[in-house]
């Protein structure tokens, strides 16, 4: 067990070091979230305190999601290009352990996206969240982090086995912005689309996060945490099957190598 934890830590450390020297990482956690946050704040700063939260936090959530989800997949693509994907696949440490280490580094880097967006809101737009409940906000952010972490861990093996998966899931990254209510409430979506939102764990975590930052009544917040956690656990269970499938599939097709 200690050896597996050391392998995960090593994957975390290696992934963090490689990301620090990769300019793409800075675009995801620093530049893009600020653009989204600025757009949101321009549109929402005069729409009342409930909506301002979407401007202040929306860009950060988008940046957090992008780094946690896309950088995790990108790390696998990078391994393929470097020719190291086969090497890490054929070591005694299970692929899941290595992926967990990599995704933890993505998630921690992703959290940094809140720094520039909140700073922009405060210094650039004088937007504040006076009704923010620190305890509920912290728990909601923890649930959101867990939700992003599980989704990234679950989907990363797809990047390993299908080269085209990155392109498809790249498109889904944008869809999730709307479906999970990152920049506006899910209730704004068409009725037929809302059920899709409800099976996505970030929807509930995001809803709880905004509720904890707004003065509106938020009696259901504990229930939203539980739904987000429950859905995440369900994804985790499905991902076990996915990892088994990928292990076989990769060894049948030889897709881990470029040639």
């Amino acid at each position: 067990m200690r050896a597996l934890m050391r392998a995960a830590w090593s994957a975390f450390e290696m992934s963090l070091r490689l990301r620090v020297v990769n300019p793409w990482t800075y675009l995801n956690w620093l530049v893009f979230p600020v653009i989204f946050a600025a757009t949101g704040l321009f549109m929402l700063s005069s729409s009342g305190i409930d909506r301002v939260a979407y401007g202040v936090l929306g860009g950060g959530i988008i940046g957090f999601w992008s780094v946690a989800y896309l950088d995790g997949g990108n790390a696998i693509q990078d391994e393929r290009w470097q020719g190291t994907l086969e090497q890490i696949f054929a070591v005694p440490a299970p692929l899941l352990v290595i992926v967990i280490g990599k995704i933890v580094s993505s998630v921690l880097l992703g959290l940094l996206a809140f720094i520039p967006t909140v700073a922009l809101a405060y210094f650039g737009f004088h937007a504040v969240l006076p009704a923010l409940d620190p305890l509920r906000f912290a728990v909601s952010l923890g649930v959101l982090t867990f939700s992003f972490f599980i989704i990234s861990v679950a989907l990363t093996p797809l990047f390993a086995v299908w080269r085209w998966a990155f392109t498809v899931l790249n498109g889904l990254e944008l869809a999730v912005y709307g479906l999970c209510g990152f920049m506006f409430p899910v209730s704004q979506l068409p009725g037929w689309l809302q059920p899709v939102s409800y099976v996505l764990s970030p929807t509930w975590a995001t809803r709880a996060l905004y509720a904890s930052a707004s003065p509106s009544p938020n009696a259901g917040i504990a229930g939203w945490w539980l739904v987000a956690l429950g859905l995440s656990v369900a994804y985790l269970a499905l991902s076990v099957l996915l990892y088994r499938y990928v292990d076989v599939r990769a060894r049948v097709t030889g897709e881990l190598a470029l040639a």
């Binding site: 597996l4 050391r6 830590w9 090593s10 994957a11 190291t84 090497q87 054929a90 440490a93 030889g254």
Partner: protein, 330 residues
Amino acid sequence: MPPDPPFRHAIEVAGLRKVYVSKRGTFRRTRVENVALDGIDLAIAQGELFGLLGPNGAGKTTTVKILTTLLLPTSGSARVLGRDVVTETGAVRRRIGFVFGGERGLYWRLSGYDNLRYFADLYLIPPQVSKRRIPELLATLGLAGREHDKVEGYSRGMKQRLHLARGLLNDPDVLFLDEPTIGLDPVGARDLRLLVRGLADDGKTIFLTTHYMFEADAICDRVAVIKKGQIVAQGTPGSIKQRVGEIGVVEFEVDALAPEGLDRLRALPGVSSVVTAERELALRVTIHCAQPPDVMTQLGKLLDGVTLHRVSSREATLEDAYVDLVGESS
């Protein structure tokens, strides 16, 4: 970890077959099957340095990838140290090392030391062991003093030696080397061959693939020649050479030669292969045949109107033996 089951050979392969399935076409997708391995059998003793020779696309890398648990065979069986490479992957991975040729497969933005430390953790090697083993390997492989430089600054030979260090991190009983000297300069390649031979002398079982006959001849205890997924010869390098020992070689150069001319040469009695190679201003033709004098007397008649230069006859070399077995024409 449970003890190894009893086994007769370090590597045992029986009827191994691998078929890759792919799709062709954009709108009308058709299923295409490519047979990479077509029922090969191998038995490699513990401590043996075994070479698998063959041209590009013959099935060498596919064999190595199956034996290192990276690929599943379509049928047949393969065991390493008595463990099934399909169902006992964890046990196999702990006991083997592998090195693929080329410069990729390393983290170029990190130092050589960091690369080794990372893989040592992924191989679940206790830190107290890796702290001792990594400097030993760096010293053995001539990388000491440069271990904290980024890999991107290493020469090709240094990268290949770092690959070998990575492959040896877990002190494997069986080491797989897939074309390890590809792209290396002659001195670097010779040094690497000496290192590999030394590892075999220390008792490690080594499975080496190469398309250099002289390399296999220099260091291998036994070799097999693979062609289009099938083993066409197997034995000691000496016995492989003897199989074609009766063959002679006729060589000549021409300015140009039509395909029909080559076909007429191939149709001559006793000719086993005709190989062409582009030179700067000429085409060099090499004919492997049973009776060189007979072929030489017929050259003028068969290639009427073609001016022949530097016509000569000689005994077969190791390279000729290999070319004769794989029947390669370029």
